[in-house]
């Protein structure tokens, strides 16, 4: 969640008019020379592991491999085994629910808070600072604290809800019932993700020229109309960034779930992330782990491409 994937640098600005063919070729060469270090870096630190991970998913890759260096190819065996595993199918579903639920919650609440704080008022700075806290706390620490809060018998949440008469005395089994645990994990992740959404969206809101709002007010548009016709469209590029980055960090979530529920109860919170972890680092079947890893990478890649396309469209329109 806290890791923010770096985005490939935008392409260089279009070349200036050419004086002669030779200088322009020189220039072209020079331009490439500047790109080479970045390309080399990408190839080494992103390309190589990616290719290795793909190759690995077709290999029988076990602890023995680390000692002997031998990893015999086994065709589609790993892929077949993973796809036949019920846990994988369940995890796909859970990941989808977890991601969509988290994004929806984080985004709507983040946006609401951003809009709220974009009006200047007393203590706004202080409250904003407090709201940033979830971002500063390490994921595992938040998870441990939330485990206590969500405890069925002695947790603060049930105690509070019971006090206002919302739940019966035995409370909601937040983390101990398979039907509720995924929902609880989503709630915690929403809490963790709100600051990120709020900060980025708040920044985006500051960029919108004030006079647009003045014009809207003069035209007699109400709050909702102003929000729909000015705020939302002007925020669009920022919204794409927030959603795509949020998506990519949510879809691979691992530490939060491991610390909160370990994938339980009864596998109800297993996601692609926890399944990869389990296959690779507990069962030490790195080949099968790589398969799930590749599926995750593929899903992320699809969204990264969508994001880049959306962004290019924006650049094209001169935004």
């Amino acid at each position: 969640m806290t890791t923010i994937t770096s985005i490939a640098p935008a392409e260089g600005t279009a070349g200036a008019g050419s004086t002669s063919v030779r200088t322009s070729r020189h220039r072209g060469l020079l331009r490439w020379l500047f790109v080479v270090p970045a390309l080399a870096y990408m190839a080494l630190f992103f390309g190589y592991p990616l290719v290795r991970n793909i190759v690995m998913s077709f290999q029988h890759y076990t602890p023995k491999t680390y000692f002997t260096g031998e990893a015999p190819f086994n065709g589609l065996d790993n892929w077949r085994a993973v796809f036949a595993n019920e846990l994988f199918t369940d995890a796909l579903w859970h990941t989808a629910l977890f991601t969509v639920g988290s994004l929806l919650g984080q985004f709507t609440i983040g946006l609401a808070l951003a809009v709220f704080f974009s009006r200047r008022f007393r203590l706004s700075g202080v409250i904003r600072a407090v709201l940033l806290l979830p971002w500063l706390v390490p994921m595992v620490v938040s998870a441990v604290v939330w485990r206590r809060i969500l405890d069925q018998e002695h947790g603060m949440l049930n105690t509070a809800l019971h006090a206002v008469g919302l739940v019966p005395a035995d409370g909601v089994p937040w983390l101990s019932s398979p039907g509720v645990a995924l929902f609880s994990a989503i709630l915690v992740n929403i809490w963790i993700g709100i600051p990120f959404n709020m900060v980025i969206l708040y920044g985006g809101l500051q960029e919108i020229p004030r006079d647009l709002y003045e014009a809207a007010a003069l035209d007699g548009s109400g709050a909702w109309r102003t929000f729909r016709s000015i705020t939302l469209p002007m925020l669009r590029p920022v919204i794409t960034v927030v959603l795509v980055l949020g998506f990519m960090s949510t879809v691979k979530i691992l530490d939060l779930i491991l610390a909160l529920t370990s994938g339980g109860p009864a596998d109800s919170t297993q996601t692609l992330g926890t399944v990869t972890y389990q296959l690779s680092f507990l069962q030490l079947d790195f080949g099968q782990g790589a398969v799930v890893g590749n599926v995750l990478i593929l899903i992320s890649a699809v969204f990264a491409v969508l994001y880049l396309r959306a962004n290019r469209a924006d650049f094209g329109k001169g935004k």
Partner: protein
């Protein structure tokens, strides 16, 4: 890892999943090892533990003219760290693994059989020997081992006029009677990870359950017992989410009259003043039968070093010294674990009467990997799935174990 304090798993960041392969090519470049130094990879990241370890290492190393250097990483990262080191030919001279991880490493043929490294393994208890063995060969030696026992609140049991239960029937009745107000009669860990599996085993095995044939029809009783304890209200429904540390917290807070736990909780238990406690053997299905708890602990192995056999010999000498009766006894006392030499274990029980139950239990304790070897992680996972789905009311014990057997067979 169940055999060590139930720490929160601090997971590897998801991103490293993809990048982990990179390490194959890039790590390594270890400096030329000093011939007079023996390196050890272990999980003693805790300062007190690290220092205590170093004291024993130095005590043994000095007379041999050897320096000992520890590389300590968190317990759940020892295996992956060791694998990375192996791939770059920079593995330490001694590798200290959790007993349940040993088969995976022995299978790689990257470990030297202890007999070949000149390590004397005679006079060890059978359970300790099996903890360090794979396919009939001993690759790892445990200085001390642990297991699980029933730890109870002496005051609560005394007030209720209840003796520590010895059979399942007594356990169920006692737990019910001791449940009152905020206090449950019984607490155990049924989390879907190593902690929960470790705690399930004494019940599963004592009932006649077999990890190689999970659906042999005997393990159901253990699932039924756990289910009954929760259904009776004698144990919290939250057990499916409690690790061993949580169970101990509940006990110390007075919210559980009895718990299943291991000797690694003793420092915490001794340091608190709220609850008086004592240790009893784990209840068995029928009176008179011996309990079959799992044996846990770390084993020290010697990685093969064909380029420099002298290093293997040095490691072997160090291991021999660490495992003398005297050193084992002192080490066992410093970490509250039971020494593995039968004679040292006896002395330990006499000198630590409070923990004598553990010393007795480890003699009948069973290694998790003795039967299924490298298949253990898959089998353990299948068992966790079984008790989780029974405790959450998803399946019956029969169905759960039937499914677990299928999973275990498919995963091999």
């Amino acid at each position: 890892m169940p055999s060590r304090a139930g720490r929160i798993p601090v997971p590897l960041v998801a991103a490293t999943l993809a990048v982990s392969t990179l390490s194959l090519g890039l790590t390594g470049c270890a400096a030329e090892p000093d011939p007079g130094t023996v390196t050890v990879l272990n999980s003693a990241t805790d300062t007190a533990e690290h220092t205590a370890n170093q004291r024993f290492f130095d005590r043994c190393g000095k007379p041999l003219g050897l320096e000992v250097e520890q590389i300590s990483v968190p317990a759940d990262q020892v295996a992956s760290k060791a694998l990375r080191m192996a791939s770059s030919d920079s593995l330490t001279d001694i590798l200290e693994l959790d007993g349940s991880e040993l088969p995976q490493f022995a299978q790689t043929e990257g470990l030297r059989p202890l007999a070949e490294a000149g390590v004397d393994t005679t006079g060890f208890s059978a359970s300790a020997t099996s903890l360090g063995s794979y396919d009939g060969t001993q690759y790892g030696i445990a200085r001390s081992v642990n297991s699980l026992a029933l730890i109870y609140n002496t005051e609560l049991l005394k007030d209720a006029g209840i003796a520590p239960p010895t059979t399942w029937e007594e356990l169920r009745a006692a737990a019910k009677e001791l449940t009152a107000g905020d206090t449950y009669g019984m607490a155990f860990s049924a989390s879907p990870n190593a902690d929960g599996v470790y705690q399930f085993l004494p019940f599963f095995w004592s009932a006649g359950g077999d990890e190689a044939r999970i659906d042999n029809g005997k393990g159901e009783a253990a699932l039924q017992l756990w289910k009954d304890l929760v259904a009776d209200g004698s144990a919290s429904k939250s057990v499916v989410n409690w690790n061993q540390q949580d169970v101990n917290d509940q006990f110390v807070a007075g919210r559980a009259a009895m718990m299943i736990n291991g000797p690694w909780q003793v420092p915490v238990l001794s340091a608190q003043k709220n609850v008086d406690w004592a240790v009893a053997s784990i209840p068995v299905p029928v009176a008179g039968k011996a309990a079959v708890p799992p044996i846990g602990g770390t084993v020290m192995a010697v990685p093969r070093n064909d380029d420099d056999p002298a290093r293997e010999k040095n490691a072997g000498k160090l291991l021999n010294c660490l495992n003398t009766e005297k050193n084992q006894l002192q080490w066992g006392e410093s970490v509250n674990n039971v020494p593995t030499r039968a004679a040292a274990a006896q002395a330990y029980a006499q000198q630590n009467p409070k923990l004598a139950a553990f010393a007795e239990l480890v003699t009948t304790a069973r290694s998790r990997t003795a039967k299924v070897g490298t298949g253990w992680p898959v089998v353990g996972d299948a068992l966790a799935g079984a008790f989780q789905s029974v405790l959450t009311g998803r399946t019956s014990p029969e169905q759960a174990l039937h499914r677990a057997q299928q999973q275990a067979a498919a995963g091999k």
